[in-house]
């Protein structure tokens, strides 16, 4: 059994702000991340999948299929976008790294069996870094 991890990057802007609390509470909760014009990151995501070796290829995960899935479900909708304004779910959900990681996991999980037929490989984790200092790891079995 192998775990294969592939890293991708995309640049996007966002603002951390929730209308459910006051302006001051937002400032306290999110600090600079609540600044009204938003700001940007070079997001780094790592997609990990687990599976046995396929004899004919010597690979546990078909990387061409994985790359295309990530391109279509994640990179194309989010690359060089304003997450709050242009990615539907973030009109009503704060685009923290946690929520972004969960959304990425959800999108990949939803389409996984249409591109990977059979029991393997299985999507295992998504790891997302907003900056090089903090990383968030989401297990696929934690996400609906």
């Amino acid at each position: 059994m192998f775990r294969v991890t592939r890293r991708y990057q995309f640049a996007a802007s966002h603002r951390l702000y929730t209308p459910l609390v006051s302006e001051e509470a937002n400032r306290r909760l999110y600090g600079k991340c609540a600044q009204p014009y938003g700001h940007g990151h070079n997001y780094v995501i790592e997609v990990s999948a687990r599976g046995p070796l396929e004899a004919h290829s010597g690979r546990a995960v078909d990387l061409a299929i994985l790359d295309e899935l990530v391109r279509r479900q994640v990179l194309e909708p989010m690359e060089h976008r304003n997450l709050n304004l242009e990615v539907e779910v973030f009109r009503r959900t704060v685009p923290t790294s946690e929520n972004l990681g969960v959304e990425i996991c959800r999108r990949l999980k939803r389409s996984w069996s249409t591109v990977f037929a059979g029991d393997w490989p299985k999507l295992e984790t998504i790891r997302i870094q907003e900056t090089s200092r903090n990383a968030f790891e989401i297990r696929a079995d934690e996400v609906e």
């Binding site: 192998f2 775990r3 294969v4 991890t5 070796l53 290829s57 010597g58 690979r59 546990a60 990387l63």
Partner: protein, 136 residues
Amino acid sequence: MVVTRKVEFSASHICRNPELSDEENRRLFGMAANPHGHGHNYVLEVSVEGQPDPVTGMVLDLKELKEVLERTVVEPFDHRFLNYEVPPFDRVIPTAENVARDIWSRLESQLNRQGRKLRLVRLYETPDLYVDYLGE
């Protein structure tokens, strides 16, 4: 407790199954099927699990781990063309998975001793692609 050491080696390889057509190889492996080969700066992280010795305070002597990795992996793999110079890759496709598993099999008997156990072989083919092998 898990101790991890990193080494690097530069090697070339061809990812190609001789039993498949050119087109099938291109679809499966993309540019990695280039019949002239291509190269990587592989980065290998080897993790050993154990408990610190009550006298030395070490899980294992890192000088010993360094020597094992140099002799067992770097020396045979570094600056080599895997398909032509490093068995079993004359008959096994040198994907990152197969190379990681081969490295595990070379290291296991040397590192599993005195209460320590090889726990993980992580092989980066590129900074954006790595494979973890944890034994079967």
